[in-house]
């Protein structure tokens, strides 16, 4: 198989790939922040006790979880743009990623809210904490600790999922890779490098999440 690997293509175009990594990280970070907001609202709707509001949030979650992200993306980019405001590819990508992450975040945060037993709140009250202290120390912090690993692995999935937005020409890492490949015909080298970059990004994020966990939730070591 006399194939000569020519990885210099990657080194020569590192600025292109770096720009791609930049947009990938920006898109993921924004989608995570906005998606968490959506998730908090969704989870509050799910646990609100109002039947219709709860059902609406459940329908949103199920609709997103049971359809492929690619179809959601194409629907938002082509479908909505054809009969409404024209969205740029980056904006459509951000919107699709946010809606997608929001649905998963809704489920995770709902689980977090429901993981706090009511007796915990009563115990906090009887220790003389006021309502805000109870919410912050007895409800919020343990709830976040409970869902922390689920939430961070969902974030890693989002980071990897963002590669799909290359399909609507949002200029993130995979798009840059496709561009480079079509210019240089170094198929294997380019995609191999992309795979390595994604692995590095995912691992880096996981390590960061672990470090944060150690600093934030010191109390979990004593439970």
């Amino acid at each position: 198989m006399g194939y000569r690997f020519q990885f210099q293509v990657i080194w020569e175009n590192w600025d292109l790939l770096l720009a791609g990594v930049g947009l990938t990280l920006q898109l993921s970070a924004l989608a995570i922040v906005l998606g968490l907001l959506v998730g908090i609202v969704g989870a509050l709707c799910r646990t609100s006790g109002n039947r219709y509001v709860s059902l609406l949030a459940a329908a949103y979650v199920e609709a997103i979880r049971n359809t492929p992200f690619l179809v959601q993306l194409l629907f938002i980019f082509f479908g909505i743009s054809s009969s409404g405001p024209r969205l740029g590819s980056t904006l459509a990508a951000l919107l699709a990623l946010t809606i997608n992450f929001g649905a998963y975040a809704t489920e995770i945060i709902r689980a977090g809210i429901q993981s706090i037993d009511h007796s915990q709140i009563e115990a906090g009250m009887s220790l003389g904490l006021n309502r805000r202290q109870v919410f912050r120390l007895v409800v919020l912090k343990p709830a976040i600790a409970n869902i922390y690993s689920a939430l961070t692995s969902q974030m890693v999935l989002l980071l990897l999922l963002s590669s799909v937005v290359s399909q609507i020409s949002a200029k993130e890492l995979t798009f840059m890779g496709n561009f480079l490949r079509s210019r240089t015909f170094r198929d294997f080298e380019v995609y191999f490098a992309l795979a390595l970059i994604y692995v590095a990004l995912a691992l880096g994020f996981k390590l960061l999440a672990q470090l944060c966990h150690r600093r934030l939730f010191t109390f979990t070591r004593y439970i």
Partner: protein, 214 residues
């Protein structure tokens, strides 16, 4: 030259879903077989096999499925063989499925209390007797619900095969849009078809989880 009615579009999309179903079932079966081997490696006492299986999982989980498809299609051309979209889509999805299924099943096996291993060893069973007669039957029950749930993920994953020119449901939708210029309707119906396939599976998984836990 004839026009597409909305009904034509719906039927064309439903008909295209057969490739999605076929690809996901092939990948699920192949991935299941490979995943079983990966699980055996992961729980084996041999360090080397353990780390090999673990490394495989980490790499597959750390790369986007789309990149796996692209690598399997464009990247494998360095071998000098003409690889078809069918083959590379199957290969990429099998890689993905085997890693995740292997991990799901490893979790199920490791959740069986070690007392079961010890008790069966005390009955002088061999390693494979312990595994086949005592551990796996119990682990099977625990792994059914997540395995079924993962099937929905595989079906959703097949949509990315459209990126390498494999004509399944998502790709057909794009093709039909290019003819009819009705992206809103076409992609909506596509989403509904995917939902129609995946939602019952998700429900089944949840029901199984309820009925199989004690």
């Amino acid at each position: 030259m004839r026009d597409f009615s909305h009904l034509d579009i719906v039927f064309a999309l439903l008909w295209a879903a057969r490739w999605t179903l076929l690809l996901s079932s092939i990948a699920f079966v192949c991935g299941g077989l490979a995943g079983f081997l990966l699980m055996l490696m992961r729980i084996s006492p041999f360090r080397f096999l353990k780390y090999l299986s673990w490394g495989y999982l980490e790499i597959v989980q750390g790369t986007p499925l789309l990149i796996q498809f692209l690598l399997a299609f464009f990247g494998l051309s360095i071998l000098g063989i003409d690889i078809s979209p069918w083959m590379s889509a199957t290969l990429a999805l099998t890689t993905f499925t085997s890693a995740i299924l292997g991990d799901i099943w490893r979790g199920a096996v490791e959740s069986i209390p070690t007392g079961q291993w010890e008790a069966s060893k005390a009955l002088s069973m061999t390693y494979f007797q312990q595994l086949g007669l005592v551990i796996l039957p119990q682990a099977l029950k625990r792994s059914i619900a997540p395995t079924v749930g993962f099937l929905a993920q595989v079906i959703k994953g097949t949509s990315l095969a459209s990126a390498i020119g494999f004509v399944e449901l998502a790709r057909s939708a794009t093709n039909i849009t290019n003819v009819t210029f009705e992206p809103f309707f076409v992609y909506f119906v596509t989403a509904v078809v995917y939902f129609g396939i995946c939602f019952p599976i998700s429900i089944a998984s949840r029901q199984l989880e309820k009925s199989l836990t004690y």
